[in-house]
């Protein structure tokens, strides 16, 4: 796939294009996570009508184009390879648009586009499970990536560095729904928080966890006046307090000085993230995370199933929820076949993990050469060719190395199918 004619391009820019934040940075030999810039993927307007600033985020989801410009214009695009991520099952016209913008507007030297899960596997997965093992330099063979992001939760089996298409499963619950659900609960029960998306998101990040036994915790919250679960969140007023504080409930409400506004967070702490396991609680007719993991695993060939179950990696913002790993393990073990081991790993920084994988890929010169597509080739063959080429790469799933033959046969198939 890598043409010998492709010029040597010194820089590799890795961008993990998420709905909430874009993770971007250059790949160099000694890149560490702090080199990654997380850019909120939104245009926001504050209370005083200033666009793009302000903490009262009334954010609007734009399809990339605005924040996309910022990191790109800083670099000399012509000497840069861009590694960019996309959503699984993204609409084809949007992919084509993206390709065109990348090559024609920004004029990147070379380009590789893939779902974030395919970048995850370039990380050293072995390190997650057995710290201290030797560093690997190739993509992990079999990884089940559970990517729980802002809009969706995806389960994607990645076999030999390629997504296994029939195994991709999705629940429509992501960080956004969790925040909104929390917002709804607070607004009905205590204060109207409907317009305070940003604050509620901070509450979610600071105190939500996944309960091992929600029934028991629910009972604890109901029956006992004082318990370990109920906490108090002091809301910021943006005069004296700029960030909310989580604390134990006070015995006495302080009087006299200007009373601070507080929210009592009780069973909301674990009932909101519970949506990942029971999307039905708000009316989604979808099964929970353990079920789709098993569905996804069972759709792969039998020889891969034990491997996938033993290499589950949780990434995305929701992977930071405490207790997710334990709960998932507890629910998956009874569902898995008897002789299978269930191993779940959460990287230190699940949000930037896909980006780190992209960096690993960017540093791996031979692999990058295979994957990327040079601008000269694009200009010669056009965007339809590029789209097929990108799809063809994911077609080369099981036979690594025989990629070009598989790609051309897939092109034939696509051509024979009108519509």
């Amino acid at each position: 796939m890598g043409k010998a004619s492709a010029p040597r391009l010194p820089n590799v820019l890795v961008m993990d294009n998420g709905a909430h934040t874009i993770k971007a940075g250059y790949a160099t030999r000694n890149t560490d996570p702090s080199d990654c810039t997380a850019i909120p993927n939104c245009i926001a307007r504050s209370r005083d009508r200033r666009v793009y600033v302000g903490r009262q985020l009334e954010s609007c989801k734009d399809f990339g184009s605005i924040v996309f410009r910022q990191p790109v214009e800083k670099c000399d695009a012509k000497s840069t390879t861009l590694i960019l991520t996309e959503a699984p099952n993204a609409p084809t016209p949007l992919q084509t648009n993206m390709d065109q913008i990348v090559f024609e507007e920004y004029e990147f030297g070379a380009y590789y586009r893939c779902p974030a899960s395919q970048l995850v596997v370039w990380n050293d997965i072995g390190q997650l499970f057995n710290p201290g093992t030797t560093l690997q330099h190739n993509a992990a063979e079999c990884v089940l990536v559970v990517d729980s992001g802002y809009s969706f939760t995806h389960v994607i089996p990645v076999i030999n560095g390629k997504s296994f298409q029939a195994g991709i499963r999705r629940i429509d619950v992501g960080g956004k729904v969790l925040t909104n659900y929390l917002k709804e609960m607070f607004s009905i029960r205590q204060l109207n928080m409907m317009d305070e998306t940003y604050i509620v998101n901070e509450i979610k990040e600071s105190c939500c966890y996944i309960s091992k036994d929600p029934r028991r915790d629910l009972d604890i919250c109901k029956r006992m006046k004082r318990n370990s679960i109920v906490k108090e969140y002091v809301l910021p007023d943006y005069k004296s307090l700029h960030k909310g504080i989580l604390r134990e409930r006070l015995e006495k409400v302080p009087q006299g000085k200007e009373a601070e506004q507080t929210l009592v967070v009780g069973n909301e702490r674990f009932m909101a993230p519970e949506l990942l396991f029971h999307p039905g609680d708000v009316g989604y007719r979808q099964t929970g995370l353990p079920d789709i993991i098993m569905k996804s695993v069972n759709s792969t060939p039998e020889e891969y199933r034990p491997l996938l179950l033993a290499n589950i990696v949780l990434v995305g913002g929701n992977a930071m929820l405490q207790g997710l790993k334990e709960r998932l393990e507890a629910e998956l073990v009874p569902m898995a076949p008897e002789n299978c081991i269930v191993r779940i790993g959460i990287p230190e920084d699940p949000i930037k993990y896909a980006w780190q994988g992209g960096v690993a890929l960017g540093n791996n010169k031979t692999a990058l050469e295979q994957h990327r597509i040079a601008r000269a080739d694009y200009l010669e063959h056009g965007s339809t060719w590029l789209a097929k080429k990108m799809a063809g790469q994911s077609l080369a799933a099981v036979q690594a190395g025989a990629s070009s033959g598989v790609a051309s046969s897939s092109n034939k198939r696509r051509r024979s199918s009108p519509g």
Binding site: A44, A166, R169, K176, N180, M194, S417
Partner: protein, 215 residues
């Protein structure tokens, strides 16, 4: 919220492409979908409605499983209240806001080539693209000429609609319900409006502040 995608009856000869609010067809106008259906092909119409229903609501595609094996007669419908609630949960802002972008970040006007200018000038929203994609995928699967050969699960994409999680198999109609006031199990219902509540205490709070329907 989601635009309706109408599937045309698709034979091998009349190639059609459809999208959210339009379609191309080389069938004569009398046979177009907008022409009134004849009373005798009620069966065809019924089948068509089932097909339409299965692809209209992408985010709660309830028939993903049933449609894939060709039996799309079991269409689980979500009640409007649930649909409304899910739509609200998926909103970014509670109120609809329009944020205008004042000026581009750089002085240069974007759009070096024709393709880029076309992309930038496109009025299509993400929803349009999504429903296009869904419709195209369905059409492709229904096309008799489309036979992936051999079917390879590793490489044939499932598509947006079919990759969604299936509804729970056990006791699919009943979900856990919680008290509106405190979040505990909602074992009783308000006699006036049907909202789930846990105890008399919460019921009193609810009746005082939140009960909307009065007989």
């Amino acid at each position: 919220m989601y635009p309706t995608v109408e599937l045309l009856p698709n034979s091998g000869k009349t190639g059609t492409t459809g999208a959210s609010s339009w379609y191309y067809s080389n069938a004569p106008p009398s046979q177009s979908v907008s022409a009134m259906p004849k009373p005798e092909d009620l069966r065809a119409r019924k089948a068509k409605t089932a097909a339409v229903a299965s692809i209209t609501a992408p985010s709660f595609a309830t028939t993903a499983a049933s449609a894939s094996d060709g039996t799309s007669d079991v269409v689980v419908k979500l009640d409007p209240a649930t649909v409304r609630r899910i739509n609200e949960l998926e909103k970014v802002n509670w109120h609809d806001v329009q944020i205008k972008i004042e000026a581009p970040f750089s002085g240069r006007k974007p759009g070096k080539t024709q393709n880029v200018r076309r992309v930038l000038a496109s009025q299509k929203t993400f929803q349009n693209h999504l429903s296009d994609d869904i419709a195209n995928h369905e059409l492709q699967l229904q096309n008799p000429l489309y036979k992936p050969d051999p079917y390879d699960p590793a490489t044939t994409p499932l598509g947006y609609v079919r990759s969604v999680a299936e509804p729970p198999s056990t006791n699919a109609t009943r979900y856990r319900r919680f008290c509106e006031i405190c979040g505990y199990w909602g074992t009783i219902g308000c006699l006036r409006c049907g909202v789930r509540l846990c105890s008399g205490e919460c019921e009193a709070t609810h009746k005082e502040a939140r009960c909307t329907r009065r007989f």
